[in-house]
Assembly symmetry: C2
Homo-oligomer: 149 residues x 2
């Protein structure tokens, strides 16, 4: 293995500048295990340049709605995190597109339901689909279940 040249490494300030992510957030990502660094003799973090791409992946994933925890799992699934290949990127992209599709579908359904409901005042009725989303929308917590008035 060839030893990497100095120019392969960048400081946290440069990483921040290149990615648009604040230094404190980068520290935070590192604490969470999303990125890794080495230290130089002054105890300053040194990142291999490919970390720019990882941070960029994180940004995109966050925008599609993934939590950092999700993203960590994705990253851990990469065969070689040091070299994110075109295939890796494609696979992630497709997974994320799926996720986006789901979200879009959910919102569209919600909107359609709202259209059904507008004007009928059914908000007060037991059978309103908006108020009894049961299986169509798997929103996390305790949704309304019953509406008798």
């Amino acid at each position: 293995m060839q030893k990497k040249l100095i120019s392969e490494w960048i400081s946290v300030g440069v990483l921040s500048e290149r990615t648009g992510v604040s230094v404190s957030a980068l520290h935070f990502y590192e604490r969470k295990g999303l990125i890794k660094s080495q230290r130089n003799t002054s105890n300053h973090r040194q990142y291999p340049k490919h970390v720019i791409r990882i941070v960029s992946l994180i940004q995109v994933a966050q925008r599609t709605g993934f939590s950092l925890e999700d993203i960590l799992l994705e990253l851990e699934g990469l065969p070689n995190r040091a070299r994110v290949t075109l295939e890796d990127w494609e696979a992630l992209g497709l997974r994320w597109q799926d996720e986006l599709d789901k979200k879009i579908t959910q919102l569209t359904e919600l909107k359609d339901m709202m259209a059904d409901c507008i004007g009928c005042g059914c908000l007060s009725l037991e059978k309103c689909r908006l108020l009894n989303p049961s299986d169509t929308l798997g929103e996390k917590g305790a949704g309304p279940q019953r509406m008798t008035e």
Copy 2:
């Protein structure tokens, strides 16, 4: 404790049961000013029945992505919160549909960008649309932005 005389009023437990919202959340909503109650002689909360509808409105609004703060503003805008009319409901519904439309558009754009990017590996490039969403997507604060030193 519940007198027939005032069948218009319901306890917090009943409100919770009817809406599927936990008692603690209902207390919370009340602290936030989203709903209001009277107290009986035992200092128990009593809600007029129409509060069921308000709580339902809150649920739907939350599912379309509004924060409680937003919702409070909407509710304060109602001419008479004690009687949410068909017109009120229509107006809210249309506003919420707009909001949903915006969200759907944003997600769709993001997905299209991702389609453009998949396979080109441009994630590593400075000019990638995904990484520089600037004006196309107005995500709240999380997107990459230039931090000029």
